[in-house]
Amino acid sequence: MSSFALYQGLANGIVTGCVYALIALSLVIIFKSTDVINFAGGEVVMVGAYLGMAALVYFELNYVLVFLFGAVGMFVIGALFDRIVLHKVLGRATPGQSILVAMVIATVGLGFAMKGTVRLFHYTEEVRRLTPAFRGPPIELGPVFLQRQDVAIVVIAVLLMLALFLFFQFTFIGKALRATSQNPKAAMLVGVPVQVMRLLIWGIACALAGVAGILIGGKLPMSVDMGGNVIILSFAAAVIGGFTNLPGAVFGGIMLGIIQNLVGITISSQAIAVAPFVVIMLVLTIRPQGLFGGQVRIKKV
């Protein structure tokens, strides 16, 4: 393999990795604060992408508004799902394992319902792509060529991550959200409205994944089933970060993007599909707390 292909693979890997990182972040902030693994994550990405397409093609909005439309739409869907479904499931469940199973099944149900709903629109039967926001000749960056659209993806993703970091670190609501995820009972005692925080978390996470969907909609062919491939890579990314570590998830996402691209170049395109599963199994069996996490949280009796 020439070093040129290696550099190009690295660059492409970072671009797709940024999108996986966003989706992994969405999974991690939901898991951290609500103990739910969102198995509908892939469908959230898919619906986000189609909301973007609706805004672009049907409402003919400009690209800034397209992102806004997708983000707000997914925020509402995520928040409603938490308020209507998860709130009820949580209130009804008996303590112990059954909550976990019930929550997972509920998110799986959400995934199916979303796929089913999108399928009702005949427009989605054909595989399409979003028109990229930035077009033009590729940018030459040392040994690699980057599409303008790819540069935009990286810039937008990094800006979003930065915004998320600032939000969690410095704003009042962000701090309340962190308090809720660390210890809901204590947060409640000091007056944090935990229910509202859960709803916000689901909203923010889904908005994040939705924007990631719009970003990837310009690169991957869009179909109702597109979520499946994307989500497994994002799961792997989140697992690398131990599923609770936000910077770890970002690192994992970019790693996964690079691994995926390099496996495609060096081994075979067939092996790409199995790479994320191998990563998940290896990391979980060797270091279940992730590459960054500290001690595994063990529940005492």
């Binding site: 009804r92 509920a106 796929k115 089913g116 979980l284």
Partner: protein, 318 residues
């Protein structure tokens, strides 16, 4: 629940056997096919319930063992002419062995981490079915040859039905026995609290590995049953959709209860057929309806249909 299963409990199984032999004479082939599919799902779901409902291990790898059992039984028959009565147990054994191997590292994990690892394994196994073309013929699939059961070559659903019914009855009887045995109680203890189980002198790790192995054997048996009434097998059938379907059967019916699992199998197994006759353009709505059922069940009947029925019965008694 303790003690050995009484005769009264085994009575429904005898009925199943009788039905297995009598029904094929009077019912159309299509309904027998449905019956075969339902019974196969019953074995598959009971197997997953041992791991999930009895032992409380949140594992997703079931379709991998299902696929291993199915491919092994089919290929043994095609390549070497191994009859079903030998091929199916061999396939189940192989599935059980792979499940044991998976259990060794997997028992170190729990909850969502276990779920993710086993989910990854199942997807990886599907990739192997797809890519190991020399053995599985890849995405093109394998055409299953009719196998012989005690000299009778099973070619139709009518011929397969009694065999499938016998296997199902045996599996259910074995499960009933297992649930009341020491192993069943050990698994329940592990499910409720690993720490308490450990303090009571239960070898938690061994119980978990046994549960994995048993679950794998059940899935392997289901895979073998699949070859009896299907003429074609391809990797598509062992994907995420199948595991979700089986998981939903258990959860919608009632996790950890045999009657609940069977109720779930019948309802979710028959639902597509019923809806297809009610709504003409059902195919489009299938996913939506299915998703809503899952969400609504979790919202209003978190312990499944059987738990809901039993809960009402107990409240009335009080």
């Amino acid at each position: 629940m303790y003690g050995s299963p009484s005769l009264g409990r085994l009575l429904p199984l005898l009925a199943l056997l009788v039905v297995g032999f009598v029904l094929p004479r009077y019912v159309a082939e299509y309904y027998l096919y449905l019956g075969n599919v339902l019974m196969m799902y019953a074995v598959l779901a009971i197997g997953l319930d041992i791991l999930l409902g009895q032992a409380g291990q949140f594992a997703f790898a079931h379709t991998a063992f299902f696929g291993i059992g199915c491919y092994a039984t089919a290929l043994l028959n095609i390549r070497w002419g191994v009859p079903f009565v030998i091929g199916m147990p061999l396939g189940a054994l192989l599935a059980g062995m792979v499940a044991t191997l998976i259990a060794l590292p997997a028992t170190r994990l729990r909850d969502v981490y276990l779920g993710l690892a086993t989910y990854a394994f199942a997807e990886g196994a599907q990739w192997v079915f797809n890519s190991w073309t020399a053995v599985t013929n890849g995405a093109d699939g394998v055409r299953i040859q009719p196998s012989s059961v005690f000299g009778i070559v099973v070619r139709t659903d009518t011929q397969a039905f009694p065999v499938v019914a016998i296997i199902t009855a045996l599996v259910i009887a074995a499960t009933m026995y297992m649930m009341t045995s020491r192993l069943g109680r050990d698994m329940a203890a592990v499910r409720e609290s690993e720490h308490v189980a450990m303090a009571s002198g239960i070898d938690v790790r061994r119980v978990k590995i046994t549960a994995f192995a048993l679950s794998g054997v059940y899935a392997g048996i289901a895979g073998g049953m699949f070859t009896l009434f299907q003429s074609f097998v391809n990797p598509e059938q062992f994907g995420f959709v199948t595991i979700v379907l089986v998981l939903s059967m258990i959860v919608v019916g009632g996790l950890g209860t045999l009657p609940g699992v069977l109720i779930g199998v019948v309802i979710l197994g028959l639902l597509p057929e019923v809806l297809r006759t009610v709504m003409r353009s059902f195919q489009i709505y299938q996913e939506l309806v299915y998703g809503l059922i899952l969400i609504l069940t979790m919202m209003f009947m978190p312990r499944g249909i059987w738990g809901f029925i039993r809960g009402h019965g107990q409240r009335k008694k009080k």
